[in-house]
């Protein structure tokens, strides 16, 4: 056990002790103390991660002969990158959590459980990135899902939160089942739990195991694989969770699914099987579908957090496209393509965790101020919380991939890769790639529609319903995480080359003979130009604002009611609402979407009560691919209700019937 391991062990033990102490600290200091524990974990884990990214990975073997065999702890560049993302989001999430949970000061036990789970959740995510022993990986994976489920049901007195938590638990269990099958199959082939043993897998076994593990990880990532809806837990779990938890979960826990897929692509000798290119195409197609599906459903949602949750599916689609492109590049061994693909995937994981978590924190502020997230009853919040509004706008721009921000950079690299691919691929490949480009552009457009609606309806215009009196104020507690994230978003947007340089180490893992100079020449120089463009955009707009100020500050500026064609009754109810804003889209996308409309018509000529019109967006895939099979199974199970009906005669009859049945079966040689 070399000295690094000695250093690791006390860290883990100290953290577990720390988390126990949280329960004892009295309420006011509890959140702060827990945050200090989190910070210590962040520091402790970032050091090896940065050293791994800088090029020398860490490997520790722990012996446990009976159950696990030897447990390798490896921190290589890929896990280093993901550890940094986790730590960053945990820092901002934890800080925001302190502010957010002030309102729950009176529920002491609930708070201490919450913060202990937060520490366990953080530790389990780090261990998932680090552990390379199959069985222990499964245990860490499940602890992660379990602790996140318990974090989600923080407001457990609401029945729908419990239902969402339970739905989430079962879906995560399915993910573990798939992973268990994969690991068990792996063990059968190679007699050892060590992931790196997957190298000697023989050809026949690679594909089924890869598919099993891929499905398991895709569950957590929230892919929508055509007829296998793995994403349905996202839109239920996120609205139910408190904002800082949903921020952390969608910011980083989904990425652990992506990490799993990347780790598998790294470990499984797919190139040996020759299927790598086809797998790449499948992943690309699937991610495009889930990207489109995610954003198409996000647009028609009424609940702000549900909208953001569906949007996470879209961004996972974009990351998936990067991975798919990378695999295709590896398949036809075109280094530029694979570098572009994996670089865009890795960078987009960082970008998404930045802007998605700040969007959720902003949604948390909205919830604190308006006690509701229903878009139909929000509006005009800009006055009440200008900082949050502007930072929400900044993240919304970033998520749509618009230039001066980080979303644009990863999509730019992806576009570069897709175009490069279409140049060299076979005709059919070129056609498919162009279709992906068109899809990606359409996703960009749809994202813009979705976020103009979200930002415009929530923050601008007049309030659609009177705001409940709430003593919540915009303070440093709930703004600093947003500012930190926005600062990073802008920094990556303006100076992409410095950040993409970090990616060279993880990329070297993926691309076999990866020469750094090629990477610098092709990708980094181009990004230098891009940074000149984005900086130019920012400079020009600032100059224009300066000119505008010089020209207009002397002229008279008056304020008057909005132009209403002469109608000057209150405009609150005349404003465009969220549903009306996307009505044209809903008509266009009607076949894909499932929207229930309740329409109360005027019963008689002179109507007494008012006419109401309600729409409830449903997830079409979830409705008929999950709900219908479940209640079919339910009905099938209820046929067998008669067994335990209390009569002694029947109880004895079952014994005889069983005897007779087995006699018949063995007589007819069936058994």
């Amino acid at each position: 056990m070399d000295e690094i391991a000695l250093k690791l062990l006390p860290l883990v033990v100290a953290m577990l002790l720390g988390s126990v102490l949280i329960a004892l600290v009295e309420t006011k200091l509890k959140s702060l103390f827990a945050y200090v524990v989190l910070v210590i974990i962040v520091i402790g884990s970032s050091v090896p991660a940065i050293r791994a990214l800088a090029g020398h990975p860490l490997e520790v073997i722990i012996k446990n002969p009976q159950v696990f065999g030897d447990i390798p702890i490896r921190i290589d560049a890929l896990s280093g990158w993901f550890i940094l993302i986790i730590n960053l989001t945990m820092l901002t999430g934890g800080f925001y959590g302190i502010g957010y949970l002030k309102a729950y000061r009176k529920e002491n036990t609930n708070l201490s459980l919450h913060w202990i789970l937060m520490v366990i959740f953080h530790l389990s995510m780090l261990s998932v990135c680090v552990i390379q022993n199959g069985l222990l990986f499964l245990i860490a994976w499940e602890i992660m899902s379990l602790s996140s489920m318990l974090l989600v049901i923080f407001e457990h007195y609401k029945p729908e939160t419990l239902r969402a938590g339970l739905n989430y638990l079962v879906q995560m269990h399915l993910s573990v089942v798939l992973l268990t099958l994969g690991v068990a199959g792996l063990y059968l082939q190679t007699q050892s739990f060590d992931f790196s043993s997957a190298m000697q897998l023989d050809n026949a076994a690679i594909l089924p195991l890869f598919i099993l593990l891929f499905l398991g990880f895709a569950f957590k990532a929230g892919f929508m694989l055509g007829f296998i809806p793995l994403h349905t837990w996202l839109p239920h779990a996120h609205p139910a969770a408190p904002s800082h938890v949903s921020g952390i979960m969608s910011g980083v826990m989904i990425k652990i699914g992506i990490f799993g897929i990347l780790r598998m692509i790294l470990l499984f000798p797919l190139s040996k099987t020759g299927y790598l290119e086809i797998i790449g195409w499948i992943i690309l197609g699937v991610s495009l579908a889930s990207g489109l599906y995610g954003v198409m459903l996000a647009i028609i949602q009424h609940n702000l957090k549900k909208l953001l949750a569906y949007h996470s599916i879209e961004n996972i689609g974009i990351i998936g496209m990067g991975i798919g492109l990378g695999c295709i590049g590896l398949g036809i061994d075109n280094p530029y393509l694979s570098a572009a693909g994996f670089a865009s995937a890795l960078l987009h994981t960082l970008n998404h965790s930045l802007f998605k978590s700040s969007l959720f924190y902003a949604a948390g502020n909205v919830y604190r101020a308006a006690h509701t997230l229903n878009l139909e009853s929000l509006g005009g919040l800009f006055r009440k919380m200008p900082h949050t509004a502007l930072l929400f706008l900044l993240s919304a721009l970033a998520i749509c991939g618009l230039p001066p921000f980080n979303g644009f950079i990863s999509e730019f690299i992806l576009y570069g890769g897709l175009y490069q691919g279409s140049l060299h691929a076979r005709p059919v490949g070129a056609l498919l790639l162009i279709l992906t480009i068109l899809g990606l552009a359409l996703i960009g457009g749809l994202a813009m529609l979705c976020f103009t609606k979200a930002f415009g309806i929530v923050f601008l215009g007049k309030g659609r319903k009177p705001l409940p009196e709430s003593d919540w104020q915009e303070g440093p507690g709930n703004l600093i995480p947003l500012y930190v994230n926005s600062g990073l978003i802008l920094a990556i947007g303006l100076f992409p080359a410095t950040f993409v340089k970090f990616l060279s180490a993880p990329l070297a893992l993926f691309i076999p003979n990866f020469n750094l100079s090629f990477f610098n020449f092709e990708l980094l120089d181009n990004l230098q130009q891009v940074s000149r463009a984005t900086v130019g955009l920012l400079a020009v707009s600032l100059i224009m604002l300066g000119i505008r100020y010089i020209v207009t500050h002397r002229t008279v500026q008056e304020v008057a009611p909005t132009w209403g064609c002469g109608y000057n009754g209150g405009a609150e109810r005349m404003q465009y609402t969220a549903t009306s804003f996307v009505r044209m889209y809903r008509k266009l996308a009607a076949p894909v979407l499932l929207v229930h409309r309740k329409n109360v018509e005027f019963p008689e000529i002179f109507p007494h009560e008012k006419r109401t019109y309600e729409t409830h967006p449903e997830d079409a895939l979830e409705a008929n691919l999950i709900d219908i099979p479940i209640d079919l199974m339910q009905r099938f199970l209820s046929f067998f209700r008669f067994i335990q009906n209390g009569k002694i005669q029947n109880y004895l009859l079952y014994g005889l019937v069983f005897l007779f049945l087995i006699g018949l079966l063995s007589w007819s040689k069936l058994i």
Binding site: R641, N645, K647, I648, Q649, L652, L653
Partner: protein, 209 residues
Amino acid sequence: MKAIILILFAISLLNISISNRLRGFARLLTLQGFLLFVLAFIQLNEVTILNLVFVLLETLVFKTIVLPLFLDYVIKKNRITRETEPYVPYFVSLLIVTVIILASFIIVQQIEGLSGNTLFFIVALSTIFTGLYIIISRKKLITHLMGYVVVENGVFILSLAIGNEMPMMVNTGILIDLFIGVLVMGIFVNKIGDVFQEANNEYLSQIRD
């Protein structure tokens, strides 16, 4: 000689299936107990005093004298009405018992390599299955108890068929267990009798899902 007794035993089975009065049922049980005694007496060739006393005690005393008295006591104490109230009409249960006897006959024929006493097996198997059938098809609690005794008689015949191999001590240990079972059940029927006026099965199915 053994064959005649076994045939008599089979006839008593048929009568049990159509006995509509509890008293008739109890008297048939006594007959079965007596037949068992004669059968055991003939079957046991190595007659040691201990064995003889034990078998005598077990069949003659318990099955033919103590058990019927105990059953009458329970019937009188709980004022159980005399009908055996089966779910299935008597005629049909008669058919079923005959089918059971035929079936066990066919099964025993199927198995080759039986050392001579095939009739023992036929009667034993049919007694066990008839006993189970009676339990399943009767509503009243007391008939369950009686059905259980019939099953026990079947087991006793089976153990006689191969009795001399089984060490006597183990064999008797088992039979004692069965008798204790019957006694405890009888006590329970009394307890149930006190709580539920009419001790049949409608009351006894509250615990269900």
